[in-house]
Assembly symmetry: C2
Homo-oligomer: 239 residues x 2
DNA sequence: TTGAAATTCCGATGAATAGTCGAATATTTG
DNA sequence: CAAATATTCGACTATTCATCGGAATTTCAA
């Protein structure tokens, strides 16, 4: 691997890895293109009212039992106006996660600007995803219990957004393998499945049963445990 | 803990643990009560045709996009006849997983009758669940991508069936802790989340992307890895 | 075998919800 | 402030879910 930095500045010339990391984050953040640009302020407000109302109603009744008319009423507009904004109930349901996923990515990008190690980033990412679910439980209900799995309908826009979540983790895992604290003996995709599956299961269990009570604590404990596990595996492989 | 067995037979007097294990399996197997007993042979055939048709249509279109009329047509009966069998689309959708979950439990119970260690049972359970999903991929699509998460609508019958899945794993984990090869330092519920999340994520990824190609192999590898991890953790805790 | 009772099936129809369209209203802009 | 543009909504159609009463089929006792 060719050495890159020539500059002798004490202030970090960004490494190759760092550049790719930032590129990934940027791509993730820019994934979402605002679908239609609303011209009037009134319209922007209406759009927000619809999204808020939809989130409440979907989380309360579940997507399939929710009625467009209820959402419109909750938003204080007529049914037909809602159709001027979203062409179907499904469209509306799939729009909701997008905004929040992007916000999550932004929060993470912000929290991760500091000079953090790969390990810290991975830990932070997993921990934050659980914490974000706790803070936005209505959204989390929608995403984790209804949308995430059924994305198989190849609603490509949202699918990519969700795939991004896995891509970030995969990147960090591969980097961890380079650094040596994650064993190269295991398939990185399998490792990603373990991490994502583990943290998601904690979130889902919380959403369904409110157990364990404290999701933030449970999430960070699970994250810490999983990272310790990776280190144990690596140490084991060394022998 | 009081010693139990007095009998001196060389042929295993079932231990306390073994008795509780069998009780759990029995309970799981008997969970499902056949809803209505059909009187005519013709009717039994129709019921089967409906279930087969529903599985195909649901797996193809997803539950929410599927139409009752399509399912009836596929089954070769009229729409109204279908309503004589199931009182709503939701009812029908929730009936499907039940039968298969019970079949899975029966398969497992059969495969696990041999004198197996707790560790072998746990490994077998995880491995078999992935393999069963591969063999019944239409059903797996329905369960893992649509039903499992959204069970929160508290459809109690099915919910219990799904909870049973976790109970079996939890039992084996607790037993593993007794035996000492699973660390007592970790919450068994957290450990269960890790195992269930990990194996489910492998299954879900396969359902969505057909990757990795060989689900049976991926499932047994993941199972083996997770059990090794538990052992590593226990060994670590000993120090 | 037969015919009456039990069971299963289906066409006609009602009810609920999704989705469309053009006229009316509000906002922006020159 | 008036024309142009953007937004809203009431009235309407379309689709799908679900019900009901009677016809068709099966079962079974005599």
């Amino acid at each position: 691997m060719p050495a890159k930095s020539l500059a002798a500045e004490p202030e970090a010339a960004p490494s190759n890895v760092e550049i790719r990391w930032n590129a990934l984050l940027t791509e993730v953040l820019e994934r979402r293109k605002p679908p239609v640009e609303r011209k009037q302020a009134r319209s922007k407000r209406t759009e927000q009212q619809i999204l808020n109302a939809a989130l409440r109603v979907f989380a309360r009744d579940g997507i399939s039992r929710s009625r467009i008319a209820d959402i419109a009423a909750e938003a204080g507009i007529s049914t037909s106006t809602l159709y001027d904004y979203y062409k179907s109930k499904e469209d509306l349901a799939y729009e909701l996660p997008q905004a929040h996923m992007t916000e999550f990515s932004a929060l993470f990008a912000e929290a991760a600007t500091e000079k953090l190690t790969t390990k810290e980033r991975l830990s932070l990412y997993l921990t934050m995803s659980a914490d974000y679910a706790r803070e936005h439980s209505e959204w989390a209900r929608l995403l984790y219990l209804e949308i995430w799995p059924s994305v198989f309908v190849s609603e490509t826009e949202l699918k990519h957004t969700i795939d991004d979540f896995a891509r970030v983790i995969l990147f960090l895992i591969k980097e961890g393998m380079e650094e040596g604290w994650i064993s190269r003996a295991n398939d990185p995709y399998e490792t990603a499945a373990l991490l994502i599956g583990g943290i998601n299961q904690v979130i889902i269990t919380w959403l369904l049963y409110r157990k364990p009570r404290n999701l933030t604590k449970a999430g960070s404990e699970m994250a810490a445990r999983m990272i310790t596990i990776l280190e144990l595996e690596a140490a084991q492989a060394q022998k």
